[in-house]
C-alpha cells in the first residue's frame, strides 16, 4: 500500500500542446514573472480560459501542472499532506502542494477565495521571496526549486463580501487580467474547440455579448466562452441551434423566469 503516495511527475505533464489563443500580453507577463520567480494571480470571469492558459504555460515550459480546485472545505492539511495509518505504522503522505513544490511543478490553485482561511498560512511563505513550504507536522521546510511557480485564480465578478481576496494575499502576486477575448478571436476559439463553422461561431459570440450586456441587470455573469463551446459542440452533433443554446446557455445562466424568457428571445433573435 505504498504505491499511491509516490506520484510520477510525468503523469502530471501536459502531453499535447493545448489550444490557446493569446488575448493580449498575458504570455509576456507570465514569462517575466516566471523568470523572476514571482507568483501570479489570474483574474477573470468564469470560463474565459484561465485554466487553459495554465495548461498551455506548463506545456510550453515542460513542467508538470498540479491543479487544485479550491472548495470551502479545503484545509491547509489537504494542501500540505497528512499522516495516514497503514499496517502498524503511520505514513506521511504529501498533499498536492508539497508534491508540486518538491517536483518543481506549476501549482495552480483555482478559485482560491473558496478555500478555508487557514490555507493562507501555507500560501504566504510560498508566495513571497522565502519560497518555502513549512510542513508543521513533520517539522520540515521544503524550499521551492527555481522551476516551481505558484499561480492562483480569482473571479472578481462575485459580489460577495465573503469572497474577497485579502490584501495581504493579493499583494504578493503579479496579477494577470483575463477577460473574454475580442469577438473575432473568441469566434475562432469557439469554432476550433467545438467544430462549428465560422458563421455559427460568430453568431454564438454575438449571443454571448448580448448576455454579457445583461450582467448587472439581473444576470451575475454573461455566457462564458466555455458555454459557447458547449453550445457549439451540441450543434456539431446535429442539435438544432435554438435547442442547443437553450440547453447550453439559457438554462445554464439563470433560473429566473423573466430572465429565462429574455435570454430565450435573444437566442431566437440571433438564430
Amino acid at each position: 500500500m505504498n504505491a499511491p503516495h509516490a506520484v510520477d511527475p510525468d503523469a502530471l505533464r501536459v502531453r499535447e500542446a493545448p489550444y490557446y489563443r493569446p488575448l493580449g500580453d498575458e504570455i509576456a507577463l507570465f514569462e517575466a514573472a516566471y523568470r523572476n520567480r514571482v507568483p501570479v494571480l489570474l483574474k477573470g470571469p468564469t470560463g474565459c480560459g484561465k485554466t487553459r492558459f495554465m495548461e498551455s504555460m506548463a506545456w510550453h515550459h515542460g513542467r508538470p501542472l498540479v491543479t487544485v480546485s479550491c472548495h470551502d472545505d479545503l484545509t491547509a492539511a489537504d494542501l500540505v499532506g497528512r499522516y495516514l495509518v497503514t499496517a502498524n505504522e503511520t505514513v506521511w503522505v504529501d498533499g498536492p502542494m508539497t508534491r508540486a513544490v518538491r517536483m518543481g511543478a506549476l501549482l495552480y490553485l483555482d478559485e482560491i477565495v473558496e478555500a478555508r482561511k487557514d490555507t493562507t498560512v501555507v500560501i504566504h511563505p510560498l508566495a513571497d521571496d522565502r519560497r518555502a513550504l513549512f510542513i508543521e507536522k513533520k517539522g520540515e521546510v521544503v524550499h521551492a526549486p527555481p522551476e516551481f511557480l505558484l499561480a492562483i485564480s480569482y473571479n472578481p465578478g462575485y459580489q460577495s463580501v465573503l469572497k474577497e481576496l485579502k490584501q495581504s494575499t493579493r499583494q504578493r502576486f503579479v496579477a494577470i487580467n483575463f477577460d473574454y477575448p475580442v469577438a473575432e478571436i473568441e469566434a475562432g476559439i469557439v469554432a476550433h474547440e467545438s467544430g462549428v463553422d465560422a458563421a455559427t461561431a460568430e453568431r454564438l459570440v454575438r449571443l454571448a455579448h448580448m448576455t454579457r450586456n445583461l450582467k448587472g441587470n439581473g444576470l451575475d455573469e454573461g455566457a462564458s466562452t466555455r458555454l459557447l463551446v458547449h453550445a457549439g459542440k451540441l450543434m456539431a452533433q446535429g442539435i438544432a441551434p435554438r435547442t442547443a443554446c437553450e440547453g447550453a446557455i439559457t438554462q445554464a445562466l439563470t433560473d429566473e423566469r423573466e430572465m429565462l424568457a429574455a435570454v430565450h428571445e435573444l437566442v431566437s433573435a440571433v438564430f
Partner: protein
C-alpha cells in the same frame, strides 16, 4: 426555529359565493334594502335610496346577491360612494362577466380609486361595456405591463445601453425610452401578439442603435409627409441591418404583414440595404419627392420626433463624454502609478492612455493602449465609449485620450456641484422606495402604495451609553460570558481519519482490535474543528410615538447591552428603527448598518433614538427584508422590538388591516429566507402576535425594566 408555517395564501374573509347557496332562496327586495342601509347608509338619502337596486337584485339568484352584498361591504370600507355605484351595476356586471370576472372588474376600479380618486374610479366602474370588450381581448391580447420586464432585458441585451419601456399612444423613442402601445391584440394568439411587441421594440431599438437620430437637426425632413417617409425608410434600413445581425429577429419581422411598397420604392430600398447606408440616406431619399405623396400605412411603424430625441441625445452625449473624460484620466493615473510601483518607468510620452473604438460585424469593440501595450478597459469605460459611439457614430480624437493630466481635474470643481454620474452611482444613499401593501379585504396588494425613505438617526448624548454600561456592569459581564460560550468555540473531534494530534484512546482501541483479529480502524487522529456561526441579524426597533418615555429608555438600553454582547459573539448585525406617518411617509432609520463597526457614532445614534410617529410595520419589514437578504449568511434573523400592534392614523391601517398587512410582509420575508421574530412588551400580544409571527416566534417581556437584559437573552436562545 420552527414556526407554525402559515400558508402563503391568506384565508378569504368569507366566501363570496358558494355552490351550496344556490339552493337557498333569494332575498326579497326589502331584506336587501335593509342590508344596503346598514352598509352604505352614509351615501343614501331620502332622494337617493337603495330601493331600485334592491328590486333589481331581488330578481337574481342568491349567489349573485351574496356576491354583491359581500363586495359592497368590502368596497364601502374603501369608499361608500364607490360601493353604491358597484351595487347599482353588480347585476349587469355579473351577467356580462361572471362572478370572478365581475370581481376583477371591481378590483380594477378600486386600483383606479387608489391611484386617481373617486371620480376616475366611478368612471371606470361605469364603463362596464368598455371593460367587457377589453376583457374579451385580454384572453388573447398581450399587455405591455406583462411583457415589459422581458422586453426591457431583451433590448438591454441587444446592446449595452439601458433603455426603459413605457406605454404610450404610439410607438416611438426619444433614444432613452421606448414607447410602445399599452396593449397589442392584433392577432388571435398571445404568442403572435407578443411577437408584435418584440418586433416593434426591436425596430425602436434599431433607431437608437443604428443612428436614426444621429443627424443634425437641419437634416431631418420638415414636411409631415416627408417625415413620415423618413420613418418608413428608416424601418426598411433597420430591417436590413437586422437581417444581417439578427437573422432570427428578422425572421419574426418578416412573419408580420409587410408594408405594401410600390415599384417606386425599389431604388430607395436597394440603397438602404447597402451595409454602409445611414440615416442620412433615408433623409435624402425622403426629401427627394420621388416617392408617392403619402407612404403606405403599416401598423408596426414607429413615429419620428427629431426635436425631442435630439435633445435627449445631446444631453446624454454631454453627460457621458464628461464622465468618460474623468474615467480615462483616473485610469491613466492608476496605470502610471502601477508602473511606477514596478519601477519600470518608460518615456513620458508613451505613458499616455489611448482608447480605440471600432465596429466589427455589428459589434462595437472598445480597446485601449497604454505604454505600447494593450490594456483591458474597465467595463464602465467600455460602456461609456460604446454608448457614445452609438450616439456619434465615431468617437472624436479628444475623447479617446486622457486629456489634461497634471493637477487639474474636471471633476475637482469646488462649486459643490455633484457630477451627474456620481448621482447615478450613489447607491449608498437610496432614494424613496415604493412598496406594495396587502389589503386583506380585497385579498390583493395595493400597488406602489407605501413610499419609504431611509434616514440617519441624529446622534444623541454619548453619556447615555456610558451611563447604561455603568449601570448594567454586572449584567453585561454575565451576558458576555454566556455569549462567549456560544462563540464558534474550538471543539476537539475524536477518532478522525486525519488531524493535528493523535487520539490515544482511538489508537489503543485500534491496536487492541487488530490484535483481536479485527480490521484496523484508521481513524486515530483528533482534530480541532471550529464550529462556525453564520448568522446575520437585523434588529428592527419601534420608534413610534407610543414608546415615549420609559419604554424608549429601555429600548435604547436594550440595544446597548445587545451590542456589547454581540461584539463578543462576532455575529453580523444591523440595527434599524422605523416609524412614519401615512403611507406616503414611511421611514426607516439607520442606526447601525451591517458593514459598520460598533463605534462611537453608532453608540451616539443608539442614544439618539427618539419616539416619533406611527408603526406602519409592513413597509418597514419589506424594506429591511431586502437589506437582510443581501447579506450572505446561512441564517438570517429579523428581530422586531415593539410595544404594540401595527398602527397608522390614516388609510385604515389601524386594527385588522395593519395586522394582516404585517402578517403578509412577514410571509414574504420567510419566503425570502428570513426568520422573523418579535420581542414585545405588549401584554395583549397573545391576541394578535401568533397570527402575525406564528405561535413560537415571539416573546412577551412583561416587565419593561427587564427588557434590556431580556433582549440579549432571547437572542442567545434564538441562535443556539
Amino acid at each position: 426555529m420552527s414556526s407554525s408555517a402559515p400558508s402563503s395564501e391568506a384565508p378569504r374573509p368569507q366566501p363570496p359565493a358558494t355552490a351550496g347557496r344556490f339552493s337557498e332562496p333569494p332575498l326579497a327586495a326589502t331584506a336587501l334594502e335593509e342590508r344596503f342601509e346598514e352598509l352604505i347608509g352614509a351615501v343614501l338619502s331620502s332622494r337617493r335610496t337603495a330601493a331600485g337596486i334592491s328590486q333589481r337584485l331581488a330578481r337574481e339568484t342568491r349567489a349573485l346577491q351574496d356576491f354583491a352584498l359581500h363586495w359592497v361591504a368590502v368596497t364601502s370600507k374603501t369608499n361608500p360612494e364607490l360601493a353604491y355605484q358597484f351595487a347599482a351595476l353588480s347585476a349587469d356586471a355579473v351577467a356580462a362577466l361572471g362572478l370572478s370576472g365581475a370581481e376583477r372588474w371591481l378590483l380594477a376600479a378600486m386600483d383606479v380609486y387608489d391611484r386617481d380618486g373617486l371620480y376616475r374610479a366611478s368612471a371606470a366602474l361605469k364603463d362596464l361595456d368598455g371593460y367587457v370588450a377589453r376583457a374579451r381581448e385580454t384572453a388573447t391580447g398581450v399587455a405591455l405591463a406583462e411583457v415589459s420586464g422581458v422586453l426591457e432585458l431583451f433590448v438591454t441585451g441587444l446592446s449595452g445601453r439601458r433603455l426603459r419601456l413605457e406605454a404610450g399612444a404610439q410607438a416611438w423613442t426619444d433614444t432613452a425610452v421606448l414607447t410602445l402601445p399599452a396593449r397589442v391584440a392584433i392577432f388571435p394568439t398571445r404568442a403572435e401578439n407578443f411577437r408584435v411587441y418584440k418586433v416593434m421594440a426591436a425596430l425602436l431599438w434599431g433607431q437608437t442603435r443604428y443612428g436614426t437620430y444621429n443627424l443634425d437637426a437641419a437634416a431631418y425632413p420638415q414636411e409631415a409627409s416627408a417625415l413620415a417617409h423618413f420613418g418608413l425608410l428608416e424601418a426598411l434600413r433597420i430591417a436590413a441591418r437586422l437581417a444581417r445581425a439578427l437573422p432570427g429577429l428578422h425572421h419574426d419581422l418578416e412573419a408580420l404583414a409587410q408594408p405594401a411598397l410600390g415599384p417606386e420604392y425599389a431604388a430607395a430600398r436597394a440603397r438602404l440595404e447597402r451595409p454602409d447606408a445611414s440615416a442620412a440616406d433615408s433623409a435624402e431619399l425622403a426629401n427627394e419627392h420621388r416617392l408617392p405623396a403619402v407612404p403606405p400605412a403599416w401598423p408596426f411603424l414607429a413615429a419620428i420626433d427629431p426635436s425631442s430625441a435630439l435633445g435627449v441625445r445631446a444631453e446624454r452625449v454631454a453627460r457621458e463624454s464628461a464622465a468618460l473624460k474623468r474615467a480615462l484620466i483616473r485610469l491613466q493615473d492608476d496605470l502610471q502609478a502601477a508602473e511606477d510601483g514596478l519601477g519600470e518607468r518608460a518615456e513620458e510620452a508613451s505613458r499616455a492612455l489611448r482608447l480605440s473604438v471600432s465596429e466589427t460585424d455589428e459589434d462595437v469593440e472598445v480597446s485601449a493602449i497604454f505604454d505600447g501595450r494593450p490594456v483591458a478597459p474597465p467595463p464602465s469605460v467600455a460602456r461609456l465609449a460604446e454608448s457614445l459611439f452609438q450616439d456619434l457614430g465615431t468617437l472624436p480624437e479628444d475623447m479617446l485620450v486622457a486629456a489634461g493630466d497634471g493637477p487639474y481635474r474636471p471633476d475637482a470643481n469646488s462649486t459643490g456641484e455633484v457630477p451627474q454620474d456620481a448621482i447615478d452611482a450613489r447607491d449608498d444613499e437610496p432614494g424613496p422606495v415604493v412598496y406594495d401593501e396587502w389589503d386583506f379585504r380585497r385579498q390583493h396588494y395595493r400597488k406602489h402604495w407605501c413610499v419609504l425613505r431611509e434616514r440617519d438617526v441624529h446622534p444623541g448624548d454619548p453619556a447615555f451609553v456610558t451611563r447604561t454600561i455603568e449601570r448594567y456592569r454586572t449584567q453585561i459581564g454575565q451576558l458576555r460570558r454566556s455569549f462567549e460560550a456560544l462563540r464558534g468555540e474550538d471543539k476537539r473531534l475524536r477518532a478522525q481519519p486525519d488531524g493535528d494530534d493523535v487520539d490515544f484512546d482511538a489508537v489503543v482501541r485500534a491496536h487492541a482490535e487488530v490484535r483481536a483479529g479485527a480490521e484496523l480502524d484508521v481513524r486515530v487522529f483528533s482534530r480541532r474543528a471550529r464550529h462556525a456561526r453564520d448568522v446575520a441579524v437585523l434588529f428592527m426597533v419601534d420608534m413610534s410615538g407610543s414608546t415615549k418615555g420609559w419604554i424608549n429608555d429601555c429600548e435604547r438600553e436594550a440595544l446597548v447591552l445587545l451590542a456589547e454582547a454581540l461584539e463578543v459573539l462576532g455575529d453580523r448585525y444591523a440595527i434599524y428603527g422605523f416609524s412614519g406617518v401615512t403611507r406616503r411617509r414611511c421611514e426607516v432609520f439607520r442606526i447601525k448598518r451591517f458593514d459598520e463597526p460598533y463605534d462611537q457614532m453608532v453608540r451616539e445614534r443608539i442614544a439618539g433614538i427618539l419616539p416619533l410617529d406611527y408603526t406602519r410595520m409592513g413597509a418597514a419589514i419589506r424594506h429591511l427584508t431586502g437589506i437582510l437578504s443581501s447579506v450572505d449568511a446561512r441564517t438570517r434573523l429579523l428581530v422586531t422590538l415593539s410595544d404594540g400592534k401595527p398602527d397608522d392614523f390614516s388609510d385604515g391601517y389601524r386594527g385588522e388591516y395593519g395586522i394582516e398587512d404585517t402578517r403578509q410582509a412577514l410571509i414574504e420575508a420567510k419566503r425570502a429566507g428570513v426568520h422573523p421574530f418579535c420581542i414585545t412588551i405588549d401584554r395583549d400580544a397573545a391576541s394578535y402576535l401568533p397570527r402575525m409571527y406564528g405561535a413560537v416566534n415571539y416573546t412577551v417581556v412583561e416587565d419593561v425594566a427587564r427588557l434590556p437584559v431580556k433582549v440579549a437573552e432571547v437572542y442567545r436562545r434564538l441562535t443556539t
